[in-house]
């Protein structure tokens, strides 16, 4: 598989959003992308997914393949039940979603008994987990996740991280997150995007997913947090 | 100058020639009248407006007048514009219906007039037929097209001075059966009606005098009268209107104010017998001679 590479710079009207950069997604690896709010993380994800953005890219994306994308907003369809929302990808491609898989995945994101609910009757975190299940059920590579666990409590967050790590093992993943601990647990590679460009951050040597309280994770997390808080300061 | 509002029955057409000519030639002015002529889009509207006091005079039809008075509208005929029926039963001249008797088992289209059934019953009766022998179809706006496209075999309610020519100009040939030759009492097709409660005899007499001058002008100087008439609107000077002018000319009431009381009495009885009205009114409730001493 040719690696997925985005090269170029982006402009909002005529102010630069980010300077010329090269973002290569290591095939089969989990890459985390961090950076200040509004720096262009979501934009990068959308460019890779081939979606329209509010910016102009001067550059190009090579090796683009159909991706699975979990957007920053859950974006559930209010007229479909939770289970139907999870099966949406298959329905949209005219395939038959495997009901057993839908059921299984819903159980694993902790929504087994809400499968017949409609999205407006869900809590914020429940909605996010439906969107996660909808993304995980897609058999795609790469998988693009935009702050996938941001609305979850600590416990669900750990569980969902483990679930994602398990189900996406061996796939090319790009995850945007604001949580340094999350990045330190899950990543093969950590990238920091600032107005100055893209920098690679150190990662623990052990294979992900790592225990959240492993010393090398806590160390990486602390280092990353330091960079984030100090970034462009 | 006294003001007077006249609502025609329909758009300006050669049926209204005496009025238009009187206006163009200044006869109304000579009679001390300033006449506003309004052309409506719907012929059922003018009598209602006169009855409601919104206009002084309206051009209407004698058969409708009877029905209107019976329904309580305060209307009365004060003058006559066209003193013969114009209505006729039109068929395709080259079609299967050559006499009224040929109508047996055929379709007859009609346009709503209020008396279409009574008229048809009388005409069929004169040929030994009854309403059972024909199928009546309301074709509303499209008498000539319905006949020409063969959807009906005859149409009731065509105007003899118009639809025949219309049909010829559209490439067909029409033939008329005349109701007054087939069992219906003769009547005045176009009349002037006024509000029976508020009418002003003096103005009406002056108005009718000017109309009479218009008729005389048309009889004496047809070319000049036509020129004056046609000049009022460019689309009046086409083949249809020129022919209609010629066909209508002999039918104008030469004495618009004159009242043939028997005509109104006979038609009233005819309507009573046809079941369209439930009692017979005296002529005085229907029509007056505005010049007669009260």
């Amino acid at each position: 598989m040719t690696p997925l590479v985005l090269t170029g710079s982006a402009w909002v009207e005529d102010r630069p959003l980010f300077p010329p950069l090269r973002l290569e997604l290591a095939t089969g690896a989990w890459t985390s992308l961090l950076g200040p709010s509004g720096v262009g993380k979501t934009t990068l994800l959308r460019l890779i997914a081939g979606l329209p953005t509010g910016v102009r890219l001067e550059g190009r994306v090579e090796g683009r393949r159909p991706a699975a994308l979990m957007a920053q907003d859950a974006g559930l369809l209010p007229w479909l039940t939770v289970a139907q929302n999870v099966a949406l990808g298959a329905r949209l491609r005219g395939e038959r979603a495997d009901p057993a898989r839908v059921r299984d995945l819903l159980a694993r994101v902790g929504l087994g008994d809400l499968s017949e609910r409609f999205p407006p009757a869900l809590s914020g975190g429940q909605r996010q987990r439906v969107a996660l299940a909808r993304t995980l059920i897609e058999d795609r590579d790469p998988v693009l996740l935009d702050e996938p666990f941001s609305a979850l409590d600590a416990r669900s967050r750990l569980r969902m991280q483990d679930l994602a790590a398990e189900l996406l093992r061996g796939r090319t993943v790009l995850m945007v997150t604001h949580d340094p601990g999350e990045a330190a647990r899950l990543s093969d590679r950590i990238l920091l995007l600032t107005e100055a460009g893209l920098t690679v951050q150190p990662v623990p040597a052990t294979p992900p997913p790592r225990p959240m309280d492993a010393p090398e994770v806590l160390a990486a997390q602390a280092a990353l947090l330091g960079r984030l808080i100090g970034a462009a300061a | 100058q006294d003001r007077l509002t006249l609502i025609l029955d329909w758009y300006v057409n050669p049926d209204h020639a005496p009025v238009i000519v009187a206006q163009e030639m200044g006869y109304f002015r000579d009679a001390g009248l300033e006449v506003e002529i309004v052309a409506p889009a719907d012929p059922t509207e003018p009598p209602k407006l006169v009855a409601a006091g919104k206009a002084d005079l309206a051009v209407s039809y004698q058969p409708q007048l009877h029905l209107q008075v019976h329904e309580g509208l305060p209307l009365v005929r004060v003058g006559t514009l066209v003193s013969t029926p114009l209505n006729c039963l039109m068929v395709d001249a080259n079609g299967p219906v050559q006499s009224l008797a040929d109508l047996k088992g055929r379709k007859v289209g009609y346009s709503l007039s209020g008396i279409e059934t009574a008229m048809m019953a009388a005409m069929l009766g004169s040929a030994g037929l009854s309403m059972e022998d024909v199928q009546m179809i309301n074709v509303n706006w499209s008498l000539t097209p319905a006949l020409m496209t063969g959807q009906v075999d005859a149409v009731a309610g065509a105007f003899r001075n118009f639809e025949l020519t219309q049909m010829r100009l559209a490439g067909g040939a029409g033939k008329c059966f005349y109701p007054e030759e087939a069992g219906l009492p003769a009547y005045d097709e176009l009349i002037f009606v006024a509000n029976s409660e508020t009418l002003d005899r003096d103005r009406i007499n002056r108005f009718l005098g000017a109309v009479e001058r218009g008729v005389t002008e048309i009889l004496n100087h047809p070319e000049e009268a036509w020129a004056a008439f046609a000049a009022t609107s460019p689309d009046l000077s086409d083949d249809l209107n020129r022919q209609a002018w010629i066909d209508t000319l002999p039918r104008f009431a030469h004495s618009p104010a004159a009242l043939d009381q028997g005509r109104y009495a006979r038609f009233e009885v005819f309507l009573k017998e046809a079941g369209l009205v439930d009692k017979v009114f005296p002529v005085a409730r229907l029509a007056i001679d505005p010049g007669a001493q009260e």
């Binding site: 007229w79 | 409601a52 019976h70 074709v139």
Partner: protein
């Protein structure tokens, strides 16, 4: 209690009606009073019932076909914008042709039965349906379209699974507007010719100066329109609530 409001409304309407007559000094041959109309309603109840049956059939058939046509036109225009742009003048023409110009052609093709009346009803009802639905189809939230694109949906499935459901509330707007026009369409359609139904009864009565009967017909038509509108509005509210 549940009946109180409609009863009050009707009473208020009758009061308004009588009020207009008194205040504006309208003579009975322009606007007969409620009592005269009630009398006519009773006297001609058999004719009215028969005409209502016929006009009702035209309304329902015409509305059904008109709604279907409107939906089809909106879908076509929305899927193939070029065809849509080319079609638009035809649609607008269909709304601007007065019945009297159309009547001879309609009767030539469809005769004097129910068909031309239904055709007129279709013509009048399809437009608001098409217009409102098309508007709705053009306002799908971008996030859902992105989702469909990423998931590799075909244009067809984006339409059926995303854009149509998202536009159903707008379709509901169109349908409720059309539900009001359907009775009008059937009545106007009866002007085309033929002599059955409420519209025909109405102009016959008008020709004979039976204004009380004209307004009796009108009361029935309005009742039909109210009932039909309420039924469609309720259906729309019940079926489309989740969507959009």
């Amino acid at each position: 209690m549940k009946l109180a409001r409609p009863v009050l409304t009707v009473a208020a309407l009758l009061g308004l009606w009588q009020g207009v007559i008194v205040v504006a000094g309208l003579p009975p041959f322009l606007l007969p009073g409620p009592l005269a109309v009630a009398e006519a309603l009773w006297r001609y109840r058999a004719d009215l019932a028969w005409a209502t049956l016929r006009t009702g059939t035209e309304i329902i058939t015409g509305f059904g076909l008109g709604a279907a046509l409107g939906i089809a036109v909106a879908l076509l225009t929305s899927s193939l914008p070029r065809v849509g742009a080319a079609l638009r003048p035809v649609l607008l023409v269909s709304q601007t042709i007065p019945i009297f110009a159309l009547a001879p052609i309609l009767t030539l093709w469809l005769g004097y039965g129910m068909a031309p009346k239904i055709a007129v009803t279709v013509l009048i009802t399809f437009f608001p349906v098409a217009s409102a639905f098309l508007d709705g189809l053009g306002r799908t939230p971008a996030a859902w379209l992105d989702l469909a694109q990423v998931m590799g949906a075909s244009r067809w499935r984006v339409m059926t699974r995303i854009r149509i459901p998202a536009a159903l509330p707008a379709l509901g707007t169109g349908l409720t507007i059309a539900a009001v026009y359907a009775p009008v369409g059937a009545v106007i359609g009866e002007w085309v010719g033929g002599s059955e139904g409420l519209g025909a009864l109405m102009i016959h009565a008008n020709g004979r100066m039976r204004i009380d009967l004209v307004f009796a017909c009108l009361v029935v038509v309005t009742g039909l329109a109210l009932a039909f509108h309420a039924a469609v509005a309720r259906l729309v509210a019940a079926r489309f609530a989740r969507y959009g």
